[in-house]
């Protein structure tokens, strides 16, 4: 299932959060959406999730123009921390189950165990790392064609990051699910990405296939990213 941005633009007053952004994310691949803070990554994901509407241009998932109803096809992990503090992990899982018909309780159970999340603990008792893990559990337990992850690593330590990368490898349905991960922390993610897209100041900068970068240019994603931001980023100002 594809996610197609066509000239997608979002303005807040005179500021552009996203500026004439066009790109097609193809079915069954894992994409890294890279850019510095404030580059428009989150806005792009929110648009694909139907949480923000474009001021101009369009976003379509599987050919369907995105509205709030697109959440049937799209799982979205927010960079924010939004849990009901008095809920236990178990209650949080049942809440998700009640909201999304595609939520797979067995998969959620497996994920919880894999990540060592205590089911009876309340949200307010969870460490930051465990809250990060729980967010991922809730996103990955849905059987949807598109998964959007906004900064899944932000503020989490190396061990948590590793467990997150591992669950992505374990639970994503490769070739079927399209995964877009917005991040500026590249190192952990690099070996699991198929392709990368760089944006800055709301504008598309470049798109690359990760293995081709290494093979043809001898560049890691991190190096390519720095170079792209330096060279092309200044033009986009």
């Amino acid at each position: 299932m594809t996610v197609q941005f066509s000239g997608a633009t979002k303005r807040y007053g005179s500021e552009y959060a996203l500026h004439d952004f066009s790109f097609r994310f193809d079915k069954g691949k894992i994409y890294g959406l890279l850019g510095p803070n404030g580059s428009g990554k989150s806005t792009a994901l929110k648009m694909a999730a139907g949480l923000v509407y474009p001021s101009a241009g369009t976003v379509a998932v599987d050919g369907e123009r995105v509205t709030r109803k697109i959440c049937r096809k799209v799982a979205y992990l927010t960079e924010l921390d939004m849990f009901y503090e008095s809920f236990t992990v178990k209650q949080m899982v049942s809440f998700y189950r009640s909201q999304f018909p595609d939520f797979d309780p067995a998969k959620a159970q497996e994920l919880l165990q894999d990540m060592g999340l205590p089911e009876n603990k309340k949200m307010k008792q969870l460490s930051k790392g465990n809250r990060g893990r729980l967010k991922l559990v809730l996103a990955l337990a849905r059987n949807v064609p598109v998964i959007l992850l906004d900064e899944p690593f932000s503020g989490l330590d190396a061990l948590v990051r590793e467990s997150i990368v591992n669950s992505l490898l374990n639970y994503i349905n490769f070739h079927e699910q399209t995964v877009i991960i917005a991040t500026h922390e590249i190192d952990e993610l690099e070996p699991i990405l198929d392709e990368v897209v760089a944006i800055r100041r709301g504008r598309f900068l470049d798109h690359q296939v990760v293995e081709a970068l290494r093979e043809n240019q001898g560049l890691s994603v991190a190096e390519w990213y720095k170079r792209t931001i330096r060279e092309k980023g200044s033009e986009a100002v």
């Binding site: 990368v165 591992n166 490898l169 070996p191």
Partner: protein, 124 residues
């Protein structure tokens, strides 16, 4: 999870070389079954698409074969162990010689410096 892949080489090739080294050391033997693409991806901490490419490349090189519905196996030829040994040696030496030549050293100097190094022992 294996980390730290070299930058200048595609990851799928680096994983193939890891498998080759294990075949040379006889940790994996001719006729052995390799882990499924997904299992291998998790072990290596990389995208399954990458492993698929690793397996395809190894198949193209005649090191493994895919049996329908059964998985991927190292071919049942004892000779491939030697062949891989030769291939890997050539590659390592090739890289070494290239690096030395970039330092401006000639053939004799390379041999001499290697001999000296080996005689002195590895730690010195």
């Amino acid at each position: 999870m294996d980390k730290e892949y070299e930058v200048s080489k595609p990851i799928y090739m680096q994983i193939a070389e890891k498998i080759f080294r294990r075949i040379i050391r006889q940790e994996i033997k001719p006729g052995d079954k390799l882990p499924s693409v997904r299992e291998m991806a998790i072990q290596a901490g990389v995208n399954p698409n990458t492993i698929q490419r690793t397996y395809m490349e190894m198949e193209r090189m005649g090191i493994v074969e895919t049996r329908r519905g059964q998985g991927t196996f190292v071919v049942e030829r004892q000779e491939i162990v030697d062949e891989l040994m030769q291939t890997m040696q050539k590659e390592i030496i090739g890289q070494f010689v290239k690096n030395m030549m970039e330092l401006g050293l000639g053939k004799k100097e390379i041999v001499k410096s290697l001999e000296e190094y080996l005689e002195r022992g590895e730690d010195k």
